[in-house]
């Protein structure tokens, strides 16, 4: 998957590789030219990725190679035992969760899971939860809370699945119940928006003591496409809508809706997954440490106060 925005850079990088080939194979010394081009590539890279539009970030957040929840589970956690089922209706593959250890400490980890290819994406419903996904998450979080285990959630979904049966089985109730539940669980809850934060489907596992977001992740009340089709009856104006919706990590931080923006490698998380994992691990470790020092009652009060303040209003 090649993004529009990175095409000139990829072209330049291809040229550099050609010159290197010639340099090596033909024995012609092109090192000066190569250095020049490399400097140019770096400038271009900084230029491109330093000035990403909201829409560019939407593309990066949706990038198929972007690390997904199970990648974080694999690289940041040990001893993962996936647990299944909501104990009511089914097991939703769009939400994964289980017991694991974070830096040796037992915890619960869960998140939306998109597929890597078409087949897995179909199996995982493109990371769009049905009610049983939210209810599985709720069940596991209750379990974790009873045993005093911290909870990590990873957000990466286009949204809750808008299907007939999802509506029948109470998508609205499932999301609301998780929000209520997460507001009162007496253990630290840490959320990282690692990709696409799609509306209520994202929030349904993301009411937390700390909400961190990767630099190029997005988190939006409605998809840019959906917004454009409502505002202007034209889904093609999604780029415009993305800019208007304030869905970038920077805007969210400015509005006080996320706690920290985690920097990504230049060009996006998928260009250096290992570096991204280190960044996320360091941040989670740091925030968890702070939260573990807080008494249960203070933790819940702080969580309530934090959300209590999320309003921007005026007076007549």
């Amino acid at each position: 998957m090649i993004l529009e925005v990175e095409k000139p850079l990829l072209e330049l990088e291809r040229k550099i590789r050609e010159l290197q080939e010639v340099d090596r194979a033909a024995g012609v010394d092109l090192s000066a030219e190569i250095r020049l081009l490399e400097r140019k590539a770096q400038e271009l890279k900084e230029n491109i990725f330093g000035n990403l539009s909201a829409w560019d970030r939407v593309q990066l957040a949706r990038h198929v190679e972007r690390p997904a929840t199970l990648d974080y589970v694999t690289h940041l956690f040990t001893d993962f035992v996936e647990l299944h089922g909501d104990r009511f209706h089914g097991d939703d593959p769009a939400v994964v969760g289980g017991l694991a250890r974070f830096q040796g400490r037992p915890c619960l980890v869960l998140g939306h899971q998109k597929g890597k290819g078409t087949r897995e994406n179909l199996a995982r419903n493109f990371g769009m939860p049905n009610p049983e996904g939210f209810r599985k998450a709720g069940r596991l979080m209750r379990l974790a809370a009873r045993f005093g285990r911290p909870i990590f959630t990873f957000v990466d979904t286009p949204g809750a699945y808008p299907g007939i049966e999802a509506e029948e089985r109470g998508q609205f109730e499932a999301i609301a119940s998780n929000l209520a539940l997460m507001s009162e669980l007496p253990v630290p809850i840490l959320t990282v928006v690692i990709g696409e934060g799609g509306s209520g489907g994202a929030l349904g596992i993301a009411l937390a003591d700390r909400v961190l977001i990767l630099e190029n992740s997005v988190y939006s009340v409605i998809s840019p496409e959906g917004c454009a089709s409502i505002l202007w009856r034209d889904a093609a104006r999604a780029e415009e809508a993305a800019a208007a919706l304030g869905l970038t990590s920077q805007t969210l931080k400015r509005l006080g809706l996320v706690d920290e923006v985690l920097p990504e490698p230049l060009g996006g998380a998928h260009r250096d997954p290992a570096g991204t994992f280190r960044t996320v691990q360091e941040a989670l470790s740091r925030h968890l440490k702070t939260l573990l020092d807080v008494e249960e009652h203070a933790l819940l009060d702080a969580r309530y106060s934090k959300y209590r303040q999320m309003a921007v209003m005026g007076d007549l």
């Binding site: 609301a176 009340v221 309530y304 999320m310 005026g314």
Partner: protein, 287 residues
């Protein structure tokens, strides 16, 4: 999520407007349920329920207040809170807010205050579809939270009448967060405990359905109200076929277990007070 709001407007826009008495009209209104002409005076006397097909037409927040609260008992809260434009959507949005304020006489999409119902003190909030489709932004969220918090402080029931297409898109993620904070406030009320009643009216969808509205200790709904998370057009596009009749109606959700009762408007107040009468008194179980 805001998509539902729109699809609802698209579904039956003009007919409901005709039925709104605020608009200039003759002595007749046309029912948006059956299309029959009804004499306006008897339509209003019948609380905007069609005498021919029982279709429940939307009511403004003030009309509902009159339907529910004991006369003269209402003391409004937070009447000065107004929406701003935190994301810079622009003058067009600000103008719409202004005109909705003028037209509805409300500061934003929710009217709230203290009142009594058959003598029972209640913290009341009523959404108004006429204000930006009842969409929930910071102000609506804040007022809902305050209703719930004040009910908790006073240990009295909270009653919220919902009527909303969902989130206020123009407030972006701020509006999404209202879901979380209203749910958190419900839990604090639950723990008092003080009763929390919800009356879902047409429509109660998306971000409002998927937050505090779903959490009522008892959830009532008016007949024929559209309820749900995803917009009908979105669901149709997803399944690529027409939706079954009755999909997302209150009767549909009663059948699927998510509502306690579907109550005709004429019985609404009696049902609410009967329930509150049983929940809103201190436990007398001898301890």
């Amino acid at each position: 999520m805001a998509g539902l709001f729109d699809s609802l407007r698209a579904r039956r826009p003009r007919v409901d407007k005709v039925a709104t008495p605020a608009l200039p009209s003759d002595h007749w209104v046309k029912c948006s349920g059956c299309g029959n002409a009804i004499y306006r005076a008897s339509f209003l006397e019948n609380r905007k329920v069609c005498e021919k097909c029982s279709h429940h037409h939307r009511m403004s927040a003030r009309e509902r207040l009159e339907l529910l609260a004991d006369p003269g008992s209402f003391e409004e809260w937070d009447a000065g809170l107004v929406s701003v434009d935190p994301l810079g959507f622009g003058q067009d949005y600000l103008d719409k807010l202004k005109s909705d304020r003028e037209r509805t006489g409300l500061s934003d999409g929710l009217l709230s205050g203290a009142c009594t119902l058959d003598g029972i003190p209640v913290a009341l909030g009523i959404m108004d579809f006429g204000f930006r489709g009842g969409s929930m932004g910071s102000v609506v969220g804040e007022k809902v939270v305050r209703v719930l918090e004040r009910a908790a402080e006073r240990r009295i029931p909270a009653l919220l009448v919902t009527c909303s297409g969902g989130a206020r898109m123009q407030e972006g993620m701020l509006s999404l967060m209202q879901m979380g904070r209203t749910c958190a406030a419900v839990r604090r009320l639950n723990r008092v405990p003080a009763p929390f009643l919800v009356i879902m009216t047409d429509p109660t969808t998306a971000g409002v359905a998927a937050s505090f509205a779903a959490l009522g200790d008892v959830i009532l709904a008016e007949p024929g109200a559209i309820i749900g998370f995803s917009g009908r057009r979105v669901v149709e596009q997803t399944i690529r076929q027409k939706l079954p009749p009755g999909f997302q109606s209150s009767e549909f959700y009663l059948e699927h277990g998510f509502l306690d009762r579907v109550v005709p408007r004429s019985e609404l107040k009696d049902t609410v007070t009967a329930i509150l009468g049983m929940l809103a008194v201190p436990a007398e179980v001898g301890r």
